[in-house]
């Protein structure tokens, strides 16, 4: 008796979940146009960069009368993103916007997606063969972003001392490009010594410990460039616990709420904000263009905004701060 009741409850829960899904990006238009089904696969759950991207994508989907749902792995790792990709492919959307978590490891499941007739658009990161696999690759010009970070840090530090890069892990196209751009540009300031890059594996705790370790090893450390959200956030935490926030300037990449707070409190001095909403929007636009058979832009580079404490509330900077929810 009780058992049947419980099974019924379980079935009810499943049914509710079914109703609860697919609730994003419902398109309005009652036109004769086909309503396209899109899915966005983020790099990791709960990262404000990807949330902001989702917001932009949803806006564009709504405007185009398409539906967009979202899926993401628990960690930024290919072994966890692969089952998500496989399940999305089974769903047979018309197109997938995806941020591949590894330039190599994600090739097999994404190839399977393409073979199933689904159009792919790579947002933010890409794979080694991105140009063949995807209709379009949309990302910030990350090398330029790295160069911008170098210029900003040179200015902030007065051009003298050692500087460190805290990167994520090798094999991510975007952050590798940022580190490269930084390295190239920082050479133009002879007074600054580039001591190399450390990896945070996208974990704030590791970034924090790398920052404090570098501080101990290089007492003349004056600047850190964190190549992504968690790396910069972690570096700030490390400096805070070492009491070195006045001494060392941080330029971060990405403008999540926590980093904006750090900016306000003077722990981080500048943020190179990408425009993830633009990336998401462009991703949807290119996907729909590809589905309609219209011409597609193979590569789109979105821009940056340098955010500082002084300009963060101004009308041309404020809209570009990352959101925690849409």
């Amino acid at each position: 008796m009780r058992r049947r009741w419980l099974l019924g409850l379980a079935a009810l829960a499943l049914a509710l979940a079914a109703c609860g899904g697919d609730d994003d990006g419902g398109g309005g238009a009652g036109s004769a146009e086909k309503q396209y089904k899109l899915t966005l696969i983020q790099g990791v759950k709960g990262d404000q960069f990807y949330v902001t991207m989702q917001c932009g994508a949803q806006e564009a989907a709504r405007a185009a009368g398409a539906t967009l749902d979202v899926a993401a792995p628990d960690e930024f790792d290919a072994s966890l993103q692969t089952p998500v990709v496989n399940a999305v492919v089974a769903k047979k959307p018309d197109a997938i916007l995806v941020a591949p978590t590894d330039t190599q490891a994600m090739i097999p499941p994404l190839t399977q997606a393409k073979q199933a007739g689904i159009k792919l658009v790579f947002v933010d990161t890409t794979t080694e063969n991105g140009a063949e696999l995807a209709e379009s690759e949309i990302a910030s010009d990350n090398e330029e972003g790295g160069r911008e970070a170098a210029r900003t840090l040179a200015e902030l530090t007065g051009g003298k001392g050692s500087v460190l890069v805290i990167n994520v892990k090798p094999g991510i196209s975007t952050t590798d490009a940022r580190a490269k751009g930084f390295e190239d540009e920082i050479k133009k300031t002879p007074g600054l010594k580039y001591i190399g890059q450390e990896y945070s594996n996208d974990k704030p705790e590791i970034a924090a410990s790398k920052a404090t370790a570098a501080l101990a090893a290089h007492p003349d450390l004056v600047g850190i460039f964190g190549t992504n959200l968690f790396s910069a956030e972690g570096a700030a935490t490390g400096l805070r616990s070492a009491g070195a926030t006045k001494k060392v300037k941080i330029v971060g990449f990405d403008a999540g709420p926590k980093q904006v707070e750090d900016l306000e409190q003077g722990i981080v001095q500048a943020l190179i904000a990408q425009k993830p909403a633009d990336i998401g929007r462009a991703g949807v636009e290119q996907a729909i263009a590809a589905l309609k058979g219209e011409p597609v832009q193979k590569k789109i580079g979105t821009g940056f905004v340098v955010v500082t404490k002084e300009n963060m509330n101004s009308p041309d900077v404020e809209p570009f701060l990352y959101k925690s929810s849409c």
Binding site: R3, L6, L14, A18, D74, N86, N201
Partner: protein
């Protein structure tokens, strides 16, 4: 081996206090029907039927099931080993870390031997398996000789194995694994069945046979049920436990090889919850955390329930965070049903 003695038979008298149990066959059938494995299997079928009803063309395809099986193969391999460990009333929290460590060792060996060709691949795979086996032996020895509880021992080796892997790699995944490994075993198929699924299936079959039909399996159950009784019966409990933990480590190493083959990188960051997922799978399958009871087939069901839930939820478009809530809820419901059934069975047999 001493012979069974013949004692002159006496008349059997039914006494009122000793109510007769149901006749042998009837009892066995009743037990089979009410076994936990049967119930969790029904839950699994229910979930599959539910998703199929909601999204038939998307969910109920060979393509989708093949991917689900391939994605679950690593966890299944680990969970088979975990089944043996938990049946001895032990636990192994180190499996995810051992998986990563084995992958790192294998990748480093392959690269050191030139980074291409089946010779390097073979040597790397063997090195990875040996690494997993070694951690398993460490666990077994600490549990039996140092008499430290398995929870603590394997929590320690969890940290040591992962820490060692991070030390060796500097925290970054090892890349450049020979391509042949990935294209053949990693993503290749044999008549439509992915090689990784075949490997997992073979491991499962060996596990089922060993646990249910051999002396090794019988000793595993006996030690979990009453280790002291096993000792007094002449079973070398310490040696057997070391073998069981070694098996768990070896299988974690094998899962590491499978992961390396599929992803061509060591995926250090992706295995921090493998241990809990394996334990949940084993418990969902009807194995008791207190030892003495459990089956490998139950574990198979337990592996696929969360795997299919995750797959179905993505297809339905459920928000990612709800998936974790749902999987946790199913775990509690399934174990609760098992408890109800067990109590009913006890009442029935004592009646």
């Amino acid at each position: 081996m001493s012979e069974i003695r013949e004692v002159p038979p006496a008349g059997t008298q039914e006494e009122p206090a000793d109510r007769p149990l149901q006749a042998g066959v009837q009892g066995a059938l009743r037990r089979r029907l009410t076994e936990t494995t049967t119930w969790t299997f029904l839950i699994l079928l229910g979930i599959v039927a539910g998703f199929a009803a909601l999204r038939f063309e998307q969910f109920a395809t060979v393509f989708n099931f093949r991917n689900i099986a391939a994605d679950a193969s690593g966890l299944l391999i680990i969970a088979v080993g975990m089944t043996f460990v938990i049946i001895t009333a032990g636990i192994d929290l180190s499996v995810g870390s051992v998986l990563v460590f084995s992958g790192v060792i294998a990748a480093k060996v392959m690269l050191a031997l030139g980074g291409e060709g089946w010779g390097a691949i073979g040597a790397g795979l063997v090195a990875g398996l040996v690494a997993g086996l070694a951690w398993g032996v460490v666990n077994g020895v600490l549990v039996t000789k140092a008499r430290v509880p398995p929870l603590i021992v394997t929590l320690g080796t969890l940290g040591m194995a992962l820490g060692s892997a991070l030390l060796i790699t500097g925290g970054i995944d090892v890349r450049g694994v020979p391509l042949e490994l990935t294209t053949t075993i990693g993503i290749g198929q044999l008549s439509g069945v992915p090689y990784v699924v075949i490997i997992a299936a073979v491991v499962t079959a060996i596990g089922v046979i060993t646990l249910s039909m051999t002396r090794f399996g019988r000793y595993t159950y006996a030690i979990g049920s009453n280790a002291e009784a096993a000792r007094r019966a002449g079973i070398n409990v310490d040696r057997h436990l070391i073998k069981v933990y070694a098996l768990s480590g070896l299988l974690a190493g094998l899962a590491g090889m499978v992961s390396l083959a599929r992803f061509a990188t060591t995926t250090i960051g992706g295995h921090s919850t493998d241990n809990l997922a394996a334990i949940a799978a084993v418990v969902l399958g009807g194995t008791s955390l207190f030892g003495g009871i459990g089956t490998v087939l139950g574990t198979v069901v337990g592996v696929f329930i969360p795997a299919i839930l995750q797959n179905g939820f993505v297809i339905l478009g459920v928000q990612p965070f709800w998936q974790q809530v749902a999987v946790g809820a199913v775990l509690i419901i399934a174990v609760y049903i098992d408890q109800l059934k067990r109590r009913a069975q006890e009442r029935g047999e004592r009646r």
